[in-house]
C-alpha cells in the first residue's frame, strides 16, 4: 500500500538574516502492507506530519520516491489522491456549514455523484454514530462528533488507504475509546489500510499492528508493539522501603536477580529492570524477608511504549507531548 524510499524534506527558513535549511524529515523508508494498521509514533516536531503530508501529495519531497496505493507520488498525484483518504489534525469542515452538505461537496470533488455521496455519507454517519446530525452545523458538535465527521469526510469516496493525523488529540478519554473502536472497524469491516500518527502510547498500543518510531526526522524503530516492548530489557521492579537503613540491603538483594545488574536507588525507592519479574518475585520476597528488610510497597511495571522510546532515543515522549 505504501512503499517509500529515502523520503526527505528540508524547509528553507530564515533565522535572523542568515538562511537556514531545516531538515524536517531526513530520508525515511516506509512499507505498509494492505490491511495493516500502522502507527507512526514520535514526539511533536519529529517529522510525523511532514511525512504524512508528503505521502498524501500535499507536500513535495525534497528527495526520495514513494508509491502510495499503487501509484507513484511524483508522477501520478491525482490517482494517489483518488485512492486515499486523509483526516488531518486541523479538521475538514467549516463550522458554519451543514455536515451533510460538506460530505456531499467533498464527494463531488472526488468525482462521485451527489446521490452516491449522500448515500455513502449517511451510511458512514450511521456507522460512526453520527445519525441525526446530517443537517447540523459542525460548530455545534462536540469534539468527538466533529472528529468523527472528519473521518466520514475522509471516507466518503471509499479509499483503500486512510491517513489519520493525531486522530484523538483533544478528546476526552471516553470519546477516545469510542474513536478507537471506529478506527479498528475501518479495517475489520471495510478492509481499509490505516496509517495513523500519534504521540499517545496507549493509542498506538491499542490500535496498531506495527509501529514506526520517528525521532528527529529519522525512523529509529519499526516493529509490533509487543516486540518493541520486549526490546526494553524486562519489567521494572520497584521496592519502596519502610526505612532508610535497609535501602542498601534491599538494593544488593535486588541486584542479584538476572537483569541489567545494578539496582537504582532514589530515596526510599530501589528499582531495577528484570526480564521476567513474575517468576523472580517470590524468591526475592523470601530473601528480603529472611534478611529482615521491611517493604512498604512493591510494584511491577510492564514496559510501556514510553519506555521503548526512552530506551531508543534517550528522551521521554512525554517531555514533548
Amino acid at each position: 500500500m505504501i512503499h517509500a524510499r529515502g523520503l526527505a524534506r528540508t524547509f528553507d527558513t530564515r533565522r535572523g538574516r542568515e538562511k537556514v535549511s531545516v531538515k524536517a524529515v531526513g530520508g525515511v523508508d516506509i512499507d505498509v502492507a494492505e490491511g495493516e494498521i500502522v502507527g507512526f509514533l514520535g514526539p511533536n516536531g519529529a517529522g510525523k506530519t511532514t511525512t504524512l503530508r508528503m505521502l498524501t501529495t500535499l507536500l513535495k519531497p525534497t528527495t526520495g520516491t514513494a508509491t502510495v496505493a499503487g501509484f507513484d507520488l511524483a508522477t501520478e498525484p491525482i490517482k494517489v489522491r483518488k485512492s486515499i483518504g486523509y483526516v488531518s489534525q486541523s479538521g475538514s469542515t467549516s463550522g458554519a456549514a451543514r455536515a451533510g452538505e460538506e460530505i456531499v461537496d467533498h464527494g463531488l470533488l472526488y468525482g462521485i455523484s451527489a446521490a452516491q455521496a449522500e448515500k455513502r455519507g449517511r451510511q458512514l454517519f450511521d456507522q460512526l454514530e453520527l445519525d441525526g446530525i446530517w443537517g447540523r452545523q459542525p460548530k455545534t458538535m462536540s469534539g468527538g462528533q466533529r472528529r468523527r465527521l472528519d473521518i466520514a469526510m475522509g471516507l466518503v469516496h471509499d479509499p483503500r488507504l486512510v491517513f489519520l493525523d493525531e486522530p484523538s488529540t483533544g478528546l476526552d478519554p471516553q470519546a477516545r475509546a469510542n474513536l478507537w473502536t471506529h478506527i479498528a472497524d475501518l479495517r475489520s469491516k471495510l478492509g481499509t489500510t490505516v496509517f495513523l500518527t500519534t504521540h499517545y502510547l496507549d493509542e498506538a498500543d491499542a490500535l496498531c499492528d506495527r509501529i514506526l518510531v520517528i525521532d528527529h526526522g529519522v525512523i529509529v524503530a519499526s516493529d509490533t508493539p509487543e516486540a518493541l516492548k520486549r526490546q526494553v530489557a524486562g519489567d521494572l521492579v520497584e521496592l519502596v522501603l519502610a526505612n532508610e537503613e535497609q535501602v542498601a540491603a534491599a538494593a544488593s538483594h535486588l541486584g542479584k536477580l538476572s537483569g541489567d545488574g545494578t539496582a537504582r536507588v532514589d530515596g526510599l525507592v530501589v528499582s531495577m529492570r528484570v526480564p521476567h519479574a513474575g517468576t523472580e518475585l517470590p524468591g526475592l520476597l523470601r530473601a528480603l524477608d529472611s534478611a529482615g528488610v521491611t517493604l512498604a510497597a512493591i510494584e511491577v511495571r510492564r514496559p510501556t511504549l514510553d519506555d521503548v522510546f526512552l530506551t531508543m532515543t534517550g528522551r521521554s515522549l512525554r517531555e514533548d507531548a
Partner: protein, 254 residues
C-alpha cells in the same frame, strides 16, 4: 469538464455559506453607503468646482471602485479562517483542480460584488444621480474585473501568509494609498486645483484611470481614450491577479 465542475462545486459551497450569513454583505455595503449619505451632500455645493454638474454622478463611480477594491481585497481573511478549520487542506487532498479552488471563491466574491454594486447604483439614483444605464452596466463589468483581481491576489497572499496578523497590515498599506491617489473622493487634476506634483504621483496609480473611465461611462461616453485606458488597466490587473492566484494555489505546500 472537471475544472468547471470543481469550480462550480466550490462556488456553490461558498455562496451557500455567504447567503446563509448575509451580515457581511451588508457590512461590506455599509462603508460606501455611509460615504454616499454623509460625504455626498458635502460634494453637492462643490459640483461646479470639481468640474461636474451632478455630484452623485461623479461620486458613485468612485464609491463603486471603493467597494470593488476593499470588499475583495479583504476576502483573504475568510480564507485564513477556512485554512485554520482545515477546509483548504481537505480540499487540496482531493483530486479537485487547484485553480478551481481559487476561482470558485473568486466567483462567489464577484456575485456578492455584483449585488452590492447594483444596490449602490440604485441608492445613487435615490440620491439624485443621473446618467446612462448602459454605461453604468459596462462600468459594473469593469468593477467586477477589478474585484476579481483583488480577491484572487488577496487569496493568494492569505494562502502564503496563513495569518490574519500578517495579512492586515499588508492590505491596509495597499488600500490607503490607492484610496487617496486614485481620486475616488475628489478629482486629482490640475484643472480642479490639485498641485502638479500630486497629479504626477497619482498618474502612477492604475486605479485612477479606472475611476476616470467609470466616470465617463456613467455619463454615457462609452468609447473614449479615457475608457479605453481604464479597461486596459483593469484587464491587466485582472490577468495579473488571476495569474498570481492560480500560481500560488498550484504550488505545493501552499
Amino acid at each position: 469538464m472537471k475544472f468547471f465542475f470543481d469550480t462550480f462545486v466550490i462556488y456553490r459551497r461558498q455562496l451557500r455559506l455567504a447567503v446563509r450569513n448575509p451580515a457581511w454583505v451588508i457590512i461590506g455595503l455599509a462603508q460606501p453607503v455611509l460615504y454616499l449619505a454623509l460625504f455626498g451632500p458635502l460634494l453637492k455645493p462643490l459640483a461646479r468646482q470639481i468640474g461636474t454638474t451632478n455630484a452623485y454622478t461623479f461620486f458613485v463611480p468612485g464609491l463603486l471602485i471603493q467597494l470593488g477594491l476593499f470588499g475583495a481585497l479583504f476576502a483573504g481573511f475568510g480564507l485564513v479562517s477556512e485554512w485554520r478549520e482545515g477546509v483548504v487542506e481537505s480540499e487540496r487532498v482531493t483530486p479537485a483542480n487547484r485553480a478551481a479552488l481559487l476561482l470558485g471563491r473568486v466567483l462567489r466574491d464577484l456575485s456578492l460584488l455584483l449585488v452590492q454594486g447594483i444596490i449602490l447604483v440604485a441608492l445613487g439614483f435615490a440620491f439624485g444621480m443621473t446618467g446612462s444605464l448602459p454605461g453604468m452596466a459596462l462600468g459594473l463589468v469593469l468593477i467586477l474585473l477589478l474585484g476579481g483581481a483583488c480577491s484572487a491576489s488577496s487569496y493568494a497572499l492569505a494562502l502564503s501568509l496563513k495569518s490574519e496578523d500578517a495579512l492586515a497590515p499588508i492590505l491596509n498599506s495597499i488600500a490607503l494609498p490607492v484610496l487617496l491617489l486614485s481620486g475616488i473622493l475628489l478629482p486629482i487634476a490640475v484643472a480642479t486645483g490639485a498641485p502638479q506634483w500630486l497629479v504626477t504621483v497619482s498618474d502612477f496609480m492604475p486605479i485612477k484611470y479606472l475611476v476616470n473611465a467609470l466616470r465617463e461611462l456613467f455619463v454615457g461616453h462609452v468609447i473614449t481614450i479615457t475608457t479605453m485606458w481604464g479597461a486596459l488597466w483593469v484587464l491587466l490587473l485582472f490577468s495579473l491577479g488571476i495569474f498570481y492566484g492560480t500560481r500560488t494555489f498550484r504550488k505545493d505546500n501552499a
